[in-house]
Amino acid sequence: MPEATTTGTGTGTAPEGAGGRRGLIAFSWLWVGVPLAYGLYELVRKATQLFTG
């Protein structure tokens, strides 16, 4: 996926995870993704009551 350079103008492109940031990107998305997945799991559990309750 192309991405903007650090000027943020969206004109230049650099490889995904340029500068060896791949691990940091994965870690940061996991940091926010895991709690969000827990919240969504609890939501789905509750929402199914509409069809079973």
Binding site: T6, G19, Q49
Partner: protein, 435 residues
């Protein structure tokens, strides 16, 4: 504190998780109701009093976003996220002290006043930074962050409930739960503080159009933006869209029960709770889904959909809602997805009209529309439902008038959106701004 500029090779995909770490935390505000019953029984206070920390928090959110926006623009997102972290976490710590000592005013001051400042500054902290990093997809970028605010309650609600089950619902258990919340949110939000970076300014002699400017290369300051009709038209659009969403949210559970009470398939209490949960999912999905769609079809068009199709959905509920449960649920889900989408798309709409120069501060001022709708929506729906009940009406008839008022509000919003035009040149900044 000077804004942290990204070093060479910094990926813009590190910015959304930084924003999410803040929004997923402060979104806890909408899960305050978990603490209401335990506080009422352990401190012997009324339901009105137990709602006070949340209400003050939302008022402070609006005020600090409106008045702190310029400071956020001046000092940068790391400063803003640090302020949000300190205020939001210390709000919980003060509340823990209040619960331990039985001093309820400390909970109001801590969670409502101090924590509320954290809510407002935290809410606007990543907005302009995200738009600067994703000038090609500002709707998607702000949609991710603002989706996080909806997601925060989804996480906090079951998490806080489990904590109270473990620690107990007496004042000591509540105090421990507040303490853990304060500490965990401080650690969680620190990712945002550490990761957030502003993009390096584009070279002054860079060829081509400035992608951080609004449509037509416009940049407008926050002070000038509030003097334009465009700002107040968008303010009206947001009030109408949010009020219409709250119209469903506020009465979702009793509404679905009343609509199908006299049918062969009445709705149980647990099924109504499931319906409310499903509405939360639609609200969240709308934030990221519709806001991203706005990057493809344009901001004005997406608000035409929110307000125009939203009015049609309300009309279908009013006319045929009690005929089919799936139809009722589908229309309500679409309305709630538009409610979320309206929140998430507004920063990108502001960027199109006013540029990125002070878009965070302008967004902060526009959030007073949220506070207004937060009062207006429940007031309309509850007042009318009470009057209808007094008049001896039952079932869907209880909501007929409210539904048609919501349609009227959405039509007003639709017209306001149609009146939005590019900002007049006299408001444009004269000097080039490299945001």
């Amino acid at each position: 504190m000077s804004p942290p500029v990204a070093p060479p090779g910094w990926s813009r995909w590190l910015v959304p998780p930084a924003a999410l770490s803040v929004h997923l935390s402060i979104g806890q505000a909408y899960a305050w109701s978990v603490f209401k019953a335990p506080l009422e029984s352990s401190l012997d206070i009324s339901g009105t009093l137990s709602a006070l920390p949340f209400q003050l928090g939302i008022v402070m959110l609006g005020l600090s976003a409106a008045f702190g926006g310029t400071l956020v623009e001046r000092n940068g997102p790391r400063w803003a996220m640090t302020v949000a972290l300190v205020c939001f976490s210390s709000g919980f710590l003060l509340s823990a002290l209040g619960a331990w000592t039985g001093q309820y005013w400390l909970i109001v001051l801590g969670y409502g006043f101090v924590g509320g400042i954290g809510l407002g500054i935290g809410y606007i902290s990543p907005v302009s930074t995200l738009i600067k990093w994703f000038p090609d997809r500002p709707g998607m970028a702000t949609g991710i962050a603002i989706m996080g605010f909806g997601g925060g309650a989804l996480i906090a609600s079951p998490w806080s409930t489990r904590m109270l089950e473990s620690f107990g619902s007496d004042s000591s258990g509540i105090a421990t739960a507040f303490l853990v919340h304060g500490l965990v949110y401080a650690v969680f939000m620190s990712l945002g503080v550490l990761l957030i970076r502003v993009p390096r300014p584009a070279p002054a002699d860079a060829a081509g159009a400035d992608a951080t400017a609004g449509v037509g290369g416009v940049q407008v300051s926050a002070r000038d933006a509030v003097r334009t009709p465009q700002f107040w038209l968008l303010w009206l659009v947001l009030v109408m869209n949010v009020t219409a969403g709250i119209g469903i949210l506020e009465k979702a559970a009793p509404m679905i029960s009343d609509f199908f009470a006299d049918t062969s398939t009445p709705v149980s209490v647990s099924a109504a709770a499931g319906f409310v949960a499903l509405l939360s999912a639609a609200n969240m999905a709308g934030r990221i889904g519709w806001s991203s769609t706005s990057d493809l079809i344009g901001r004005k068009n997406i608000y035409r959909v929110y307000l125009g199709v939203g009015a049609l959905m309300y009309l279908v509920i009013a006319l045929f809602g009690d005929a089919s449960k799936p139809l009722f649920v589908l229309c309500a889900l679409v309305i709630l997805s538009f409610y979320g989408g309206g929140f998430a798309t507004i920063p990108a709409y502001l960027k199109d009209l006013f540029g990125t120069y002070q878009v965070g501060a302008i967004h902060g001022r526009l959030l007073t529309a949220w506070s207004t709708a937060g009062v207006l929506g429940p007031l309309i729906v509850n007042w009318i439902a009470d009057r209808q009940e007094e008049a001896g009406k039952q079932g869907p008839e209880l909501y007929g008038t409210s539904l048609f008022i919501m349609i009227g509000l959405l039509v007003v919003g639709f017209v306001a959106n149609e009146l939005v035009r590019p900002v007049h040149a006299r408001y444009h900044l004269k000097e080039a701004v490299h945001a």
